[in-house]
């Protein structure tokens, strides 16, 4: 494996590992020992590919956005993860993990969710497989995201309010981990991003790597070259970016740009720009970069986009940032909202506000001639209509 992938001990450079209490060790060890073998089984691959094709609707298109391209003076391709079943890239991972859980003999699935996208994607695959599903969601998020709570319930999931701490995503993750501690034998925890103890960051990145795998093929068909000049994706925990970057990591000619949420501005005190504001720390089982106080207490992040307000980033992202392989930048709420509206007007595509952060960075780039740019359009904006309406006064 290359220097950008996980090593045998579960580390990316100094980041990663499995900083978990002993109570979680048997669960995590079982996953560590089995995930690679299971993922390479013929029957697994066949079922995974079949579901991605017939259920999720893959491959997702790579769309040359002509009017957007004309505006910025580059060939801008959108990787349309927004067209997946359930409306975002999250389903790639939950399909993979539910097949893994089945093969591990697990009967009960737990998950955490912030805005509810990963919760919906998890409830979806549990309905598909007839497995019990419990989703932890911060009490505050439950109030803010009623339609997604309803979706999960319709699919038979139990939604449990996380009432500890700040009652948002990080606390929902804590509650899911506590559930796993208390149910070590029959339960599989489907983490929604490239965070958590090893092997989760690698596991989730592998399931999401279908994004860049398809992109390379599609780009070759369209341009005759599998390598674009730039690849952009937004980063909360970082799962769509991890999948979008995966097959480009070794290709050092390709510039990888990860866009974090600056909220009201990096220095405003209301931000989720982890690499700008964080330092090395341990949260939810892995060592990474983390927004925290001097005393090591985790700081609650802010972004208008509920999918980006996580106080850390996955350990692989911390390593790509530290090693310089990736460029980590941030975009404010206002910049993202304008970019979302611009795409809607120019291309007739309403992006999720998360994805709008990646789009907004185009404004800050300077292009030279015929450069190829791929942007991961990680999700659709239906879930964000309320926010768009309030912001623009439609």
């Amino acid at each position: 494996m290359s220097k950008y992938h996980v090593n045998k001990k579960g580390y990316y450079g100094p980041f990663g590992g499995a900083y978990i209490p002993e109570m979680l060790y048997p669960n995590v060890e079982e996953l560590q020992q089995k995930y690679m073998d299971i993922m390479q089984e013929e029957s697994f691959l066949q079922e995974f590919q079949e579901l991605l094709k017939d259920y999720v609707g893959r491959p997702s298109p790579l769309y040359l956005a002509k009017r957007l391209s004309a505006r910025y003076g580059a060939n801008i391709f959108l990787k349309r993860e927004d067209l997946n079943h359930t409306g975002a890239h999250k389903i790639n991972n939950t399909i993979g993990q539910i097949l893994l859980a089945e093969r591990l003999g697990k009967k009960r699935i737990i998950a955490e969710t912030g805005a509810g996208q990963h919760g919906v994607a998890t409830a979806t695959v549990c309905a598909l497989k007839g497995l019990e599903c419990v989703v932890y969601m911060g009490e505050i998020d439950i109030q803010r995201q009623a339609p997604n709570v309803a979706r999960m319930k319709m699919m038979g999931a139990t939604v449990v309010a996380a009432q500890s701490g700040s009652k948002t995503l990080k606390d929902a993750t804590n509650e899911a981990l506590r559930d796993w501690i208390n149910n070590p034998i029959d339960t599989h925890y489907i983490i929604g991003s490239v965070v958590g103890p090893h092997p989760y960051p690698d596991l989730v990145a592998r399931f999401q790597s279908i994004i860049s795998e398809e992109t390379k093929k599609q780009l070759t068909e369209k341009t005759g070259n599998s390598s674009p000049d730039y690849v952009l994706a937004c980063v909360g925990g970082g799962s769509n970016a991890a999948g979008m970057f995966y097959h480009f990591l070794e290709d050092e000619e390709v510039q990888l740009i990860a866009v974090e949420a600056a909220g009201h501005g990096v220095k405003s005190g209301e931000s989720a720009a982890t690499t700008a504001l964080g330092k090395e720390g341990v949260l939810h089982g892995s060592r990474s970069i983390l927004m925290q106080t001097e005393d090591g207490q985790v700081v609650e992040p802010y972004s208008i986009s509920a999918g980006l307000d996580y106080p850390g980033i996955g350990p692989q992202h911390a390593w790509l940032y530290k090693s310089g392989r990736g460029k980590y930048v941030s975009i404010t709420d206002d910049e993202a909202m304008q970019a979302g509206l611009l795409l809607t007007k120019l291309e007739g595509i309403i992006p999720a506000i998360e994805s709008s952060h990646a789009l907004a960075y185009l404004e800050k780039m300077t292009f030279h001639g015929n450069e190829n740019v791929v942007i991961c359009l990680s999700g659709r904006g239906d879930k964000d209509l309320d926010n768009y309406m309030k912001y623009f006064g439609f």
Partner: protein, 257 residues
């Protein structure tokens, strides 16, 4: 008796340890509670330093951590409070908390401060064996700070042997695979597990924690182990306005045969 010797001596059995969160319910009660616990008959103490995301803890200790943080408790402040620890308290004292707090304070700094104030060891549930061995063992040893490891019903024999080799004080035996604050039910399975551990003839004594809340559970636990730890049940007592006057009867109620 020297602080460490209670774990080695054959005479001292039925050891009672009490856990409480520093900074709860009041910021400056850390030493006063410790003194009271010692005079009431506790055999050693675990003082928790609060963390915003305590994943191994149930609601009672989570709540105490939140309040402590709101009160302004930090690791730095705790060490200031513990400066005169050894002029007030002679029983062994361990600090318990999560790794990120220690990492930000600096692992070496942490060990140095523990040594300076006379803390005997640390229990850091999310610092795993591999990371401890590779990155931090030498530092802990340099300052004579004992790192205490947890063992659960699911921990393999091979891993328990490894933990025994890395330990120099006691092994923290979890009564069940659970977060803190559940009740201990010593069923057939738990009994088998405690017996299995007892029969492994480990060099470190076993202390059972998680789920011990009263005289009955304490008595059961200490038939299999050298001692037992009470956490959530004691932290619950601290939420009583008159907690200082209730500590003694709480401890006596547990230790009286």
């Amino acid at each position: 008796m020297h602080t460490q010797d209670i774990f080695k001596s054959d005479e001292s059995n039925g050891l009672l340890s009490i856990y409480y969160t520093a900074g709860y319910p009041n910021l400056d009660s850390t030493i006063a509670i410790a003194k009271k616990l010692e005079s009431a008959g506790a055999d050693f103490l675990e003082i928790g330093f609060p963390y915003s995301d305590p994943i191994a803890d149930g609601p009672v200790i989570q709540h105490s951590s939140e309040v402590a943080l709101r009160n302004g408790m930090t690791l730095q402040r705790l060490f200031q409070q513990l400066q005169d620890l050894r002029s007030h308290v002679s029983i062994p004292v361990f600090l318990m908390g999560y790794f990120n707090t220690v990492l930000q304070y600096g692992v070496e700094n942490f060990c140095k401060s523990c040594q300076a104030v006379g803390v005997n060891g640390a229990i850091i549930p999310d610092l795993p064996i591999y990371e401890y061995e590779e990155l931090y063992q030498d530092t802990f040893k340099k300052y004579g700070i004992n790192n205490i490891f947890l063992v659960t019903p699911q921990t393999s024999e091979e891993r328990i042997r490894k933990i025994d080799n890395l330990s120099h004080s006691f092994i923290y035996l979890l009564s069940s695979n659970a977060t803190t604050g559940k009740n201990l039910e010593v069923g057939v399975q738990a009994e088998q597990y405690f017996r299995r551990l007892k029969n492994m003839d480990l060099k470190n004594p076993l202390v059972i924690g998680f789920g011990i809340s009263d005289r009955e559970t304490f008595r059961k636990a200490t038939t299999y182990a050298k001692g037992a730890i009470i956490g959530s049940a004691f932290v619950r007592l601290l939420s009583d306005d008159d907690y200082m006057n209730k500590i003694e009867s709480f401890i006596k109620g547990i230790k009286t045969q």
